[in-house]
């Protein structure tokens, strides 16, 4: 009575048919998942819209200064807090600088900080995650305990304290943001490694005497890459928000350098909020639009790369 027919068994049969042209078959296998992912991504309207908006924004802040005259720094004491006109598309700020020019140049700084902090955070996180997952033992538990504390520590508060003392420029900001943003990547990479090291092909490599570092670079990181890319995308969004918050509080990027966050600092005054919306509305909307676009891209990537999570 124990005899059952296994429906999975015959299902493996067709694969054997293609084994003679192994090279071709392998290429097809390798290509098709990314093609499938691309198709899934393209079928997600919000994700596509997010990507389009993001490309437009990035090209905008990079190329606009090339095609038109934009001067974000010249102070004009005679033309302070002017309403938007033909000369100044979005008016002028508290010391007479062109708001539109500052919006474009500020976008460069905000995006630069977001992208580079995310890159650094992912690098730190991958390294720590890979070390913790591969070495295990006390290294693992120490790193993970550290990650716990870093993860739950209100990073804004910590950065305010540190920046308040050391002062801030773009590089300090990037390092600090990354320092408080690596934990999720570390967790994901560690988790991937723990599950992957049990798989046969990795165990086989170990049996052949492969070194841990070789294992990490050759087998484990490629497998973790898609998840890390998703995390990094979402972290870019988070870091742009953090930069904005810190600069808004006056502990981030300092004028005269423009960033979307420090442009919003003007709105600390009630009169600016009440009667000069051109000073705070554009940078606020720019942040929201950029971060929203990036988040949709990130979500779309996650769904496309790992449809099971949907």
């Amino acid at each position: 009575m124990t005899a059952t027919f296994d429906p999975n068994l015959p299902a493996a049969a067709p694969a054997a048919d293609h084994s003679h042209d192994a090279a071709e078959g392998l290429a097809a296998v390798r290509r098709s998942p990314s093609r499938m992912a691309l198709r899934r991504y393209m079928s997600n309207r919000l994700a596509v819209a997010g990507a389009v908006v993001l490309v437009v924004l990035v090209l905008g802040v990079l190329l606009l200064p090339v095609f038109m005259h934009l001067d974000p720094y010249t102070v004009d004491p005679l033309n302070v807090r002017a309403k938007p006109t033909g000369d100044h598309l979005l008016g002028t700020d508290g010391v007479g600088r062109d708001v539109f020019a500052r919006l474009v140049y500020g976008g460069r700084i905000s995006m630069l900080i977001g992208f580079s902090a995310a890159l650094l955070a992912v690098l730190i996180g991958s390294l720590i995650g890979a070390l913790a997952g591969t070495l295990g033992g006390w290294v693992d538990s120490t790193f993970m305990r550290m990650a716990d504390v870093f993860m739950s520590f209100p990073n804004l508060v910590a950065i305010i304290v540190v920046v308040g003392i050391f002062g801030a420029n773009v590089i300090v900001m990037v390092i600090l943001l990354a320092l408080f943003g690596w934990t999720q990547t570390a967790r994901v990479v560690r988790g991937m490694i723990l599950s992957l090291r049990e798989r046969e092909y990795v165990q086989a490599s170990r049996a052949f005497g492969a070194k841990p570092l070789w294992l990490i670079s050759r087998h484990l990181l490629p497998a973790a890459l898609s998840q890390v890319v998703v995390l990094m995308t979402l972290e870019v969004a988070g870091f742009i928000l953090s930069e904005a918050a810190l600069s808004f509080l006056g502990v981030g990027i300092q004028p005269p350098t423009a960033s979307w966050g420090n442009m919003l600092q003007a709105a600390q005054q009630y009169t600016v909020i009440s009667s000069m919306p051109w000073l705070w509305l554009p940078p606020g909307l720019a942040i929201a639009l950029t971060v929203l676009a990036i988040n949709f891209v990130g979500d779309g990537l996650r769904d496309a790369l790992d449809p099971r999570q949907r």
Binding site: M1, T2, D6, P10
Partner: protein, 359 residues
Amino acid sequence: MTEQVSITKDTAPIGDEQPLLQVTDLQVEFRTDAGRAYAVDGVSFSIAAGEILGVVGESGSGKSVTAMSILGLVPSPPGRIAGGSIVLQGQELVGASERTLRKLRGSAVGVIFQDPMTALNPVQRVGRQIAEGIRIHRGLSKDKALERAVELLALVGVPQPELRARQYPHEFSGGMRQRAMIAMAIANDPALLIADEPTTALDVTIQAQVLDVIRHSQQETGAATIFITHDLGVVAELAERVMVMYGGRVMETGRVSTIFRQPRHPYTAGLLASLPSLTRDDAELTPIPGNPPSILAKVKGCPFQPRCVIGRDRDICAAERPPLLEVGTDHLSACHFPDEVGASAPEQQVAPDDSEVRS
């Protein structure tokens, strides 16, 4: 045998009495990313009070979906009953209100699910989970319902039932959980018991015990039982009648004794050939070659045709759907050539792998 009667809506079922459950031409569809899937495609069967019907088929043959349709438990969306009729105790259930179905669930019809590891709520005590169904349908007090739950646990052979009732599912072994599941299903003396592969997820040694419990419970309550399995051995042991399903359709149905002795459908014959037997060497075990059919397109002919020795080269099998016709006393088969089945040794009933023919 020459007189062939097709079962349709207006044909009276076998026997004079109205059966407990009469399913006629049931159609269930699922909307998937790849298109519409026809999980159940024109299934008809009936079950009399107190009878045990074994339903056999591979994964994806539509056997579970058929059973879940009875109570409206097919997840919707994506699933949907697209047609047919299900009459339980004279009451039409297709298109019935959620309220009507709810009153039947857990009272007139009890269900034993496949995986006792996941079918029980992990954060609720077992006794309370059993008592819940009793309270809903009988309006008993909490204490009274719990008392009854303890009695039921004892009935299904759970030792120390008072203690066990206060425990959580994770404190139970797999076999004990399935007993608790059975207790839940029979809590309100159902007229119909649906057991959806109740032993598949269990250890081989536990399977026999759980089968005994189901048999015992069935005798105790007198419930008609639909026993879904892909294990022909279990059917032989437990059921009086058997229904073989493939590709969302009924292939063959009849008395177990008849069908096991003389199958009249090549798929059933293939299944039987894949069973080990005492009279044969295990080396002769014959798996059924080929893949289970895709249910993404409505098959014009017989779904088994690409894998069938008899039908693979015949146009009629590919083009025309074989009706489920009487081939003997209380014995129906959906094959254009039922008489050719069993003409040769069972091992040769089945064609070699040719799944690509259907593409």
